[in-house]
């Protein structure tokens, strides 16, 4: 241990590099060389990569616990010092925040929270790898599968170990990508490929929230590191106006009387929670998870039950210090969790597909976890993540084992997963049966199993805790809110116990309904020769799976049964809580216990036990004793209710019609605008106008000499007319007008022109002379009119007059406008000539 500690100091903990590198190398080798390595090679590579990673995680965890103990002693037990081992790989990039530069490193760290999660990921991951090595053994894409699976473990570790939100986001999207690839693993079927796409896109909606949250944190907090964020909470206490947006002109009905304001932590936490809703399948973004069951069953166990889907809870727990600053965001988290828990449980009642039941129960259990973290019970909520990883992983693997057995005769996927084809399997598959029962007890909350302790703790904390406002003016949840959440949770728990035991009894009790069991039947494989559907099927008795599949079941069932003992508050076993305490210490200062709630602990425990008894007993009565007759009677009584629940409340159809329909219509509109409006105006219209001009001008270009000659004649005639008529124009030099009042007129020259000048309105007198210039002098504010007559060589005359005014800066010209249209402008007091042609042809 000492040697390890000197080898890997806390601030340069490069052991994490090895932890991360092993699965990555495994993925690379399996993916690139997998075809040449063969199945044996791929199996060895993938298993040893994850197994090695698990061993290294154990070492890291051991160092963490021993160091944590030392710390705890040093700080007088449970101080704020969080044991954290950090390893910085390199500087990723740097961005500029609102006030400072924000460096973003590729850095990883492990603390008690991520240490536990890391063990779960690699440990459960290893078991599921082992399981898959047998489960997938007949698949031609064996190497591809293990490459993806190893890549998933790597991404999940990046998510957990990321020291800042940006690195976490790498893992966040990485697991989403692996999930996409694994759901669509059998991409030859459109349905499965679509399910993968749906998962990726729904998760992207969540990622959008995470991106926005990161941008906000960069701006307001100036850091994305979790440890720095925790200490710089004061920067986040501002209030912001959310609506209306200042400066944006809006119709009045959109402007509320009071501007809607929210604190920065509320905004950030809600944006983060959008990401969590996507990844952890909460209302309204849960729809991808049931569809994700299209992937191979081990994938459902690893990704869609034990690890990836809990990333949302991990994120909330990781940023707990931020969430507790906003009671509103916490209430949203808890409320969403409670609603999801009940809603998903209701759907699970009517499902006949074994994996679908488990999928909806996963959604429901994720809801409980959010209830936990949303109530401020971060340790309890995250403890449920842990126990859920065991019992739900086990349940999925059991389902895989059952499907594996069913698949020997029923080759189509729907049929082999349908519980109506199962029944009585406890005789044929004893180990699977036993482990399934144990996990079922755990998830249903049978006292003393792990699920009982975790769920009970979550519900108790939801009932008893309240989030205090950190600053005045913040919204605080009303007192009944916690009780309402508790009531929803209890109702959901009854449902859980009922539908899980329904699945159990349908699968393992009663008579086998899949096919007629014929002793000594030779199992025949291959899709081509198998006749589907018609007539009663025959086959050998379903058999137990090989040890590679049953061993993981046994291990997980063991933990499902006894795992609760690390954090069983009623028994005063709180090892895990104490281990995590430093992580949540700053957050839990804002969580207060309601008065007198502690006394309710034992009564509420009784409620928990009753819930289990009611749910499981009801299922026993309906499905084991009565053989499902009450359920059939219920369906007959309310067929439409049953249909809508079986169709999952038609939420997918609703989304299809609203959100997708809307975006689809937007897309069509955009294409239409592009084609007709933009291309129509910018390209076609301008082209048409140009062509129109061209066509007009082309008419003149006839190529006939006569037309051109006629044009020339017209032109010459016009020119001649211009020359024959005199034109009276003059240039006026008014540069001295302001100073001395002198103005000089210079008439334009012309062929044989002679001029006659006159001032004022007086009649013309005197002869036409050759004097082309004329000068006059104006008094202040005086307005004068100068007339010019021009005679050309042919004797034609014309005349024009000019009005000029001497402006003195007091607007006297404007005030007393001169005769005619003279509206003198300040800068140019001289008016354009008022032309009056007089003469004609001689």
């Amino acid at each position: 241990m000492e040697q390890l500690r000197t080898q890997f100091p806390a601030d340069d903990f490069s052991l994490l590099a090895l932890v991360l590198l092993l699965p990555l190398v495994g993925a690379f080798v399996c993916g690139v060389f997998g075809k040449r390595l063969g199945k044996e090679g791929v199996r060895t590579m993938a298993l040893s990569a994850v197994g090695g990673s698990f061993v290294l995680c154990l070492a890291a965890f051991a160092m963490l616990t021993s160091a944590g103990g030392a710390h705890g002693a040093g700080h007088g037990g449970g101080g704020h010092a969080v044991t954290r081992f950090t390893w910085t790989a390199w500087r990723w990039f740097t961005i500029d925040g609102g006030t400072s530069t924000v460096p973003i490193d590729v850095a990883f760290s492990v603390d008690p929270l991520s240490g536990v999660m890391m063990l779960v990921v690699t440990g459960v991951g290893f078991l599921i790898h082992l399981y898959s090595s047998e489960y997938m053994s007949k698949d031609p894409g064996y190497y591809r599968f293990f490459a993806y699976l190893n890549l998933f473990v790597f991404s999940m570790l990046v998510l957990i170990l990321g020291d800042n939100l940006a690195v976490l986001f790498v893992g966040w999207e990485g697991v989403g990508l692996c999930s996409y690839l694994l759901i669509g693993f059998w991409f030859g079927e459109d349905r499965k490929a679509s399910a993968g796409k749906k998962a990726f896109i729904t998760n992207r909606i969540g990622d959008f929230g995470l991106l926005v949250a990161m941008a906000m944190l960069v701006y307001y907090a100036g850091t994305l590191r979790f440890s720095t964020l925790e200490t710089s909470q004061s920067a986040l206490s501002q209030m912001r106006t959310v609506w209306p947006i200042p400066g944006l002109e809006l119709p009045s009905w959109l402007i509320p009387a009071q501007p809607i304001r929210a604190s920065v932590p509320t905004l950030v936490a809600l944006a983060l929670f959008v990401g969590c809703m996507g990844k952890s399948a909460q209302l309204p973004l849960y729809v991808w998870l049931p569809d994700a069951m299209a992937g191979p069953t081990p994938v459902s166990a690893l990704i869609h039950a034990a690890t990836m889907v809990t990333a949302g809870i991990y994120l909330v727990a990781r940023t707990s210090f931020l969430f507790v600053l906003s009671p509103f965001a916490m209430a949203v988290v808890a409320g969403t969790g409670a609603l999801t828990a009940l809603f998903a449980a209701s759907i699970a009642f009517a499902q006949t597909d074994l994996k679908k039941v488990l999928a909806y129960s996963t959604v429901s259990q994720l809801g409980y976890m959010f209830v936990g973290v949303g109530s401020g019970a971060f340790a309890a909520g995250f403890f449920h993540v842990l126990t859920h990883a065991f019992f739900k992983g086990c349940l999925f693997l059991c389902a895989g084992s059952v499907i594996h057995a069913m698949h020997h005769v029923i080759h189509d996927e729907e049929g082999s997963q349908d519980m109506r084809n199962m029944g009585g399997l406890r005789k044929h598959m004893p180990i699977t049966h036993a482990t399934f029962l144990i996990s079922c007890l755990a998830i249903a909350g049978c006292p003393m199993t792990s699920g009982f302790f975790s769920k009970d703790e979550v519900l108790f904390k939801a009932f008893s805790s309240q989030i205090a406002a950190t600053q005045p003016g913040l919204w605080v949840a009303p007192a009944w809110y916690g009780q309402a959440i508790y009531a929803l949770g209890v109702l959901g728990a009854v449902c859980t116990a009922f539908y899980m035991f329904r699945a159990y009894f349908l699968t393992f009790w009663g008579d086998f309904r899949g096919w007629t069991i014929v002793k000594g039947h030779v199992a025949h494989h291959g899709d081509d020769e198998h006749a589907h559907g018609e007539g009663p099927r025959e086959g050998a008795a379903p058999h137990e799976s090989p040890w590679q599949m049953t061993l993981p079941l046994a291990v997980l069932a063991f933990f499902a049964l006894f795992g609760g003992l690390v954090y069983a508050e009623p028994l005063h076993l709180t090892a895990l809580e104490r281990f995590w305490h430093p992580v949540f210490a700053s957050a839990s200062t804002h969580v207060v216990e309601r008065a007198g709630a502690h006394a309710m602990m034992w009564p509420l425990l009784g409620v928990g036990a009753t819930v289990f008894a009611v749910g499981a007993g009801g299922a026993y009565y309906v499905y084991a004793q009565q053989g499902g007759k009450p359920a059939e009677a219920f369906v007959a009584a309310a067929p439409s209710l049953h249909r809508i629940v079986r169709d999952k409340w038609r939420v997918d159809e609703f989304y299809e019609a609203t959100v997708l329909g809307f975006i689809d219509a937007m897309g069509d509109t955009a294409v239409a605008i592009d084609k007709w409006l933009i291309d129509g105006v910018i390209a076609r219209l301008t082209a048409a106008v140009t062509q129109l001009f061209g066509a007009g001008l082309r008419l003149l270009q006839t190529g006939r000499v006569q037309v051109y000659a006629a044009g020339m004649v017209l032109g010459v005639a016009g020119l001649g007319w211009f020359i024959l008529t005199p034109h009276a124009e003059a240039e006026i030099d008014s540069s001295k007008l302001r100073s001395s009042g002198d103005v000089t007129f210079t008439a334009a020259p012309g062929h044989g022109y002679s001029y006659r000048w006159a001032e004022g309105e007086a009649a013309q007198s005197g002869d036409f002379t050759a004097a082309a210039t004329f000068s006059t002098k104006l008094e202040r504010c005086q307005t004068k009119q100068v007339r010019l007559e021009v005679r050309n060589v042919f004797g034609g005359t014309t005349e024009t007059s000019f009005t000029t005014c001497r402006e003195m800066g007091n607007d006297c010209c404007t005030a007393k406008p001169a005769a005619g249209d003279a509206t003198a402008r300040p800068q140019t007091p001289l008016q354009a000539p008022a032309r009056a042609p007089m003469g004609g042809t001689p």
Binding site: R91, F93, G188, A215, Y219
Partner: protein, 659 residues
């Protein structure tokens, strides 16, 4: 002795080994060489590497002033030379082309060897038409250097891919590619508006020919549309350019087309957003030319047509480099010459970039049946991100935008190459013609998925870093006023739509049942085609994981430029009535180095002395200098420092509402 120097060799060997058995040795070695070379250059650019810091004392002689001339001139001259080679020897033609490209690429790497301090590097000024004040003025800085490298990196790949799929008129093709590269680099480095305009128009010609000669069924229509759209903007820009030059002459009675000198001219304007002032009109004329090139909504419709009709190589160059000229020129010229206008309209333009570019482009892309058209519309969306980063005008927004320019070049270039592979096999790009081809083309599918993820912006690929920097930069931007936050959210929403349209297409083409019998026997990607895509795919990951090899080098230039922009914008008074000339000390001293200056003697003397000041690192004053101008230099450096300091301390003018 660390393992680092051996890694490229090891990986190169691994790549050569992994290739399918039937691959020719030539391709094996080629791919290994590409891998080795790329990884070696990454190692060389690595921030921990001492090379960039090791020689701060070295004189500026490392900046060979003719390097840019060479990068521009060599391909153009070679293009002309190729026209005189015999048509009957296509391998000679191709060999010459490859050799020229290889030399250019290596030469462009020399640009990266210099520490990119703020100010101009590799500046070269030669009087050209002295009566009109036109000079051959080329220089690069931390912004344009990446686009030069992008050009010399992608054009050879495009040419290589074209020689594989195009079978006719190789001689003209070689000439077109060579001249195109020279012209594009010329436009990236020109600092004289006249020179810029020449290259801006010159590069249209080879691209016009490429679409028109080797294009698809409606190639003539597409090429004419392409040419007319861009030409319209260019002509307006020319008018505005002349007005600017004339105004400068009115103010200083000196004729010059120099960008640096003209940056000092402030045309009359008012605070109103839209007003027929001289500055608005000139800004509009310049920006319109650039917006068409980008292209920004609603001037984008030439792009899908041009891409669909262009041959694969043409599309690659068009998308990877040519569109970047629009964004780059907006950053350099619109924002540089009209900072006030660019700043007060930024909020509105940002809305255009988000709604018209990112969201509208994505929606259009989603609805396309032609894969290539889809990729073309995705370009509209991606360039919306770039423009948003530029409008926001924060240091990280601009860096993200430059990064995103390069990213888009890599990812979209690779997408076009891959679509070309499919087209060569089936001669159709209709999505409905395909389905389930992942079964028959597994390697191709893997490559396509990687590039798709880069295009979507999954972290770990290059797309994410650029997008995130732009989004964060937009969020903190003060230029976008109260719209910064909304525009950032809108841009982030575009990330969802990117997944929708790309994955929808991927699913329809690659997954599902292999129903079309024509696709049953498609060959997987050949080593030759893989060789073309490989460098792009490698760079996708390199930039995704190590963006700081780029951002560290562009940061000083971007920050200096951004501060200059903010400073100049803040200086504009409420209603200036007349055009005026800004004093020199309004600018960072390194910026004006090389501007024509009548007072200080001949232009070349100024240039030489000033280049030394600018290029020398901050500690230049202590470094031993040869001659008596040591004192001058020291004084100048001190003054520079002082002005820079003053410059940084300037408060921003009333920032609008906080987002």
């Amino acid at each position: 002795m660390s393992l680092a120097p051996v890694i490229p060799a090891l990986l190169a060997a691994a790549v050569a080994y992994v290739m399918p058995r039937k691959a020719a040795t030539k391709h094996r070695i080629g791919l290994a060489a590409v891998t080795f070379f790329l990884l070696a250059s990454v190692g060389w650019l690595w921030p921990d590497g001492t090379q960039a810091v090791a020689k701060p004392d070295a004189p500026t002689s490392t900046e060979w002033p003719y390097l840019l001339d060479f990068l521009i001139g060599f391909p153009i001259v070679a293009g002309l030379f190729v026209l005189f080679l015999p048509r009957q020897m296509p391998s000679l033609l191709r060999g010459v082309t490859y050799a020229v490209f290889a030399v250019s690429f290596v030469a462009s790497l020399a640009l990266l060897a210099v520490p990119m301090t703020p100010g101009w590097h590799f500046q070269h000024i030669v009087p050209w038409i002295e009566s009109a004040g036109i000079r051959w003025h080329v220089a690069t800085d931390g912004i344009s250097v990446w686009l030069i490298v992008l050009t010399t990196f992608t054009t050879p790949i495009a040419a290589f891919a074209s020689f594989g799929s195009i079978k006719s008129r190789h001689k003209e093709l070689c000439a077109a590619f060579l001249m195109l590269q020279g012209a594009m680099i010329g436009a990236f480095v020109a600092l004289d508006l006249f020179v810029f305009y020449v290259f801006w128009e010159l590069m249209l010609v080879p691209m016009f020919l490429m679409i028109g000669i080797w294009g698809g069924a409606e190639k003539i229509k597409a090429s004419v549309k392409f040419f007319l759209f861009t030409m319209t903007g260019s002509v307006l820009m020319l008018g505005a350019m002349l007005y600017l030059v004339w105004t400068h002459h009115e103010l200083t009675s000196q004729w010059t087309f120099d960008y640096l000198a003209l940056s000092r001219v402030v045309l009359p304007d008012t605070q109103k957003p839209v007003v027929m002032s001289a500055q608005f009109l000139c800004w509009f004329a310049f920006s319109l030319a650039f917006f068409i090139k980008v292209p920004m909504w609603p001037l984008h419709t030439w792009l899908p047509d041009a891409h669909v009709q262009a041959p694969t190589g043409g599309s690659v160059v068009l998308a990877a480099v040519m569109l970047k000229l629009g964004t780059y020129a907006y950053l350099r010229f619109s924002m540089g010459l009209f900072p006030f206008r660019s700043a007060i309209l930024a909020g509105n333009l940002g809305a255009f970039a988000v709604i018209g570019g990112i969201l509208y482009g994505a929606l259009c892309a989603w609805k396309q049946d032609d894969i290539k058209k889809l990729v073309a519309y995705s370009s509209v969306a991606h360039l919306g991100f770039v423009m948003l980063g530029l409008f926001g005008a924060t240091p990280s927004g601009i860096q993200g935008a430059i990064l995103q320019m390069v990213n888009h070049g890599l990812a979209t270039g690779a997408l076009f190459l891959l679509v070309g592979v499919l087209y060569d096999r089936r001669h159709t790009r209709e999505v409905s013609e395909f389905g389930g081809i992942a079964k028959v083309m597994p390697v191709y599918t893997v490559l396509f998925l990687i590039v798709t993820m880069a295009s979507i912006g999954v972290p770990g690929t290059n797309g994410f870093v650029g997008e995130f920097m732009v989004i964060a930069g937009t969020f903190v931007s003060k230029r976008l006023n109260q719209f910064g936050a909304i525009e950032a959210i809108g841009a982030a929403f575009g990330v969802i739509l990117a997944a929708v349209y790309m994955l929808g297409m991927v699913q329809k083409v690659f997954f599902g049942p292999l129903s079309n019998p024509k696709n049953k026997h498609l060959d997987d990607i050949t080593p030759r085609e893989a060789l073309a895509v490989a460098p792009l795919v490698i760079m996708i990951f390199v930039i995704g994981f190590f963006p700081s090899i780029m951002t560290d080098r562009m940061r000083p230039a971007v920050e200096s430029y951004q501060q200059q922009f903010v400073h100049l914008f803040s200086d504009t008074p409420e209603t200036p009535l007349a055009a005026r000339l800004l004093p020199r000390d309004m600018f960072p001293p390194s910026f004006l180095v090389g501007a024509p200056d009548a007072e200080a003697g001949g232009p070349s003397a100024v240039t030489e002395a000033a280049t030394k000041t600018a290029a020398a690192p901050a500690k230049a004053a202590e470094a031993p200098k040869p001659r008596s101008d040591e004192d001058t230099n020291r004084a100048r450096a001190a003054r520079n420092e002082e002005i820079m300091q003053k410059f940084k301390n300037l408060p921003l003018r009333k920032a609008g509402g906080e987002p």
